[in-house]
């Protein structure tokens, strides 16, 4: 374990060597990796943490962090997280926390080299965003400031190396930030229109008496409005988050494979959403309006995820055929 030597500790024996025994002179560079030295200090400290990292330091930072964001979480819980569309926020936080916890040894490896300047600069900028976001109820900004605050925490506790190694869980937290209303408005309508067009075309082609006006579908005696929630915008983000988590857990080494999979989730989630809308239209047409609005609505939502996950997994298996030889497959998992 390299932990027993501080960065200056390695040099010290070299300087003192001429006066001491010649044996020491040869030793230092090797000592960093010899197992004998690791017996001096425990390799694993409190909670499996690197013993060179101050556990109280982490706890103090986390306590301040939680105090800062408790209000934001409470507000999110009663607004964004309470909606059907973006209710996945807490799960994202749990997943990110679990990822950081399970990789804590790797992330906080080596002697701490805090980057004070970068850390405090980032902390200062983050605090400005946080104060404005929280006081002026721009919740997106307050929530997003969490990510840079954690980045500043890694910089101040352990330095750039730790920040680099924790990039994925930190990036993953982007999915818990509520989508800005303006963005949602701008994307929802084109998506809704596209979903309506494709669903209508497919059903018309199969032979159903269906017509479309804007995002209003008319099938037989029923008129159905493709609601905002049916645009699939939110399921797109949820599925993208799930996909990234899947890739991270599978630990594929090939960048190309990860990128292809991440991009393919976009059309996959669109197809799944069209499937859901078609199912709802068919249920309404064959079983009546009540069925379409009742249990079937939830059922169709589940169908969306089943279709999407099946397609994603299937596509990943297809990729495995191509990427096996290049070291991108499961054989290279850790």
């Amino acid at each position: 374990m390299t932990g027993v030597l501080r960065s200056d500790g390695a040099r010290q024996p070299l300087i003192t060597a001429p006066q001491g025994s010649p044996g020491i002179q040869l030793f230092p560079s090797k000592s960093m990796t010899t197992p004998t030295t690791s017996s001096v200090a425990p390799a694993v400290g409190l909670f499996g943490l690197n013993p060179l990292v101050s556990a109280p330091g982490i706890l103090v930072f986390l306590a301040a962090f939680l105090l800062m964001y408790a209000g934001t979480y409470a507000e999110l819980a009663s607004t964004t997280w309470a909606t059907e569309e973006q209710g996945h926020g807490p799960l994202i936080i749990c997943a990110a926390a679990w990822l950081i916890w399970s990789q804590r040894e790797k992330i906080l490896a080596g002697p701490p080299k805090p980057s004070l300047f970068a850390g405090f600069t980032l902390l200062g900028l983050t605090l400005v965003a946080y104060v404005v976001g929280r006081s002026q109820s721009v919740i997106e900004m307050a929530a997003a400031s969490q990510i840079t605050m954690l980045m500043a925490g890694f910089l101040l506790l352990h330095g750039t190396g730790a920040l680099r190694r924790a990039w994925f869980p930190l990036f993953f937290l982007v999915f818990m930030v509520p989508l800005p209303g303006a963005l949602v408005q701008a994307i929802t309508l084109p998506l809704k229109s596209a979903v309506s067009v494709v669903a209508t075309e497919v059903l018309f082609w199969v032979g159903y008496p269906i017509a479309r006006n804007g995002v209003t579908l008319t099938i037989g005696p029923y008129q159905l409005l493709v609601a905002d929630a049916c645009s699939g915008l939110n399921s797109l983000f949820t599925l993208e988050a799930l996909g990234l988590l899947y890739m991270n857990i599978m630990n594929y080494q090939s960048k190309a494979r990860n990128i292809i999979l991440a991009i393919m989730i976009v059309p996959i989630s669109f197809i799944s959403n069209v499937t859901r809308v078609i199912i709802l239209v068919l249920i309404t047409y064959h079983l009546g309006d009540e069925a379409g609005q009742g249990f079937a609505h939830t059922f169709a939502g589940m169908v969306l995820f089943v279709v999407a996950l099946t397609l994603t997994y299937g596509f990943d298996r297809l990729l495995a055929v191509r990427f096996d030889d290049q070291g991108g497959a499961r054989g290279r998992r850790e």
Binding site: T37, A41, V60, F61, Y130, R134, Q136, G214
Partner: protein, 242 residues
Amino acid sequence: MIKEVHVAVANDLPKRVKFPGAILVAAALMLGGLGVSEWLKPSRVMADELRPVVMKEFLPEQFGDWRVDHSGPAVIYDPTVEAKLSTLYSGTLNVTYVNSKGDAMMLSLAYGKNQNSWNTAAHRPEFCYSAQGFEVQGRGQAKLALNGHDIDVIRLMSRRGQQIEPITYWVTLHDTAALPGISRKLQQMRYGLQGMIVDGFLFRISSLGSNEAEQFKLQEGFVRDLEKALPPEQRVRLFGKP
């Protein structure tokens, strides 16, 4: 020999890892940020300080050459749209005015008491028109000259079948006319940092006719006449401060 090194290295190790001072400073700053953000939260609800808005009485029955047309149904909304509107706005009003030449002007007013809230930001006519099957084309921003000052407005051209409907709209925050989007958000934050929770309107007019320039001119004249006819307090709330 190896043993000696062990001792040397072991003695070199601090018994306990020093508490990082930077973290203490950081935690203090973080808690300070929490305090400042609490202190900066706006608390003056401007809607409660001004005269309450009663939508039905907000607009005059008659002004200039225009009077309210009671003959036909104003606008028919989809019930789901209606339900959504009531969660977005504290009040809505749709009126049709006619003038002596037989021109009709459809005015739609939406009022939100708390423009700071996460879900009451005005939603844009571009989206609701196209959602109802209109084909909407942007005509960009324009300056609309009122009696004392200019305001920025957005112009649209919507078409459904044979019906061509040019639209002009803008939003207001407290006593400022604005356009939806970032500038409106910044304006809202400016009020917020002064401690005010402001209210706001969405003002939209449209008329039927394929000659764009003519219709937009008619709309401009309508707005100017309306501004002249309103009492000062209401004027500021719909058209902003000069």
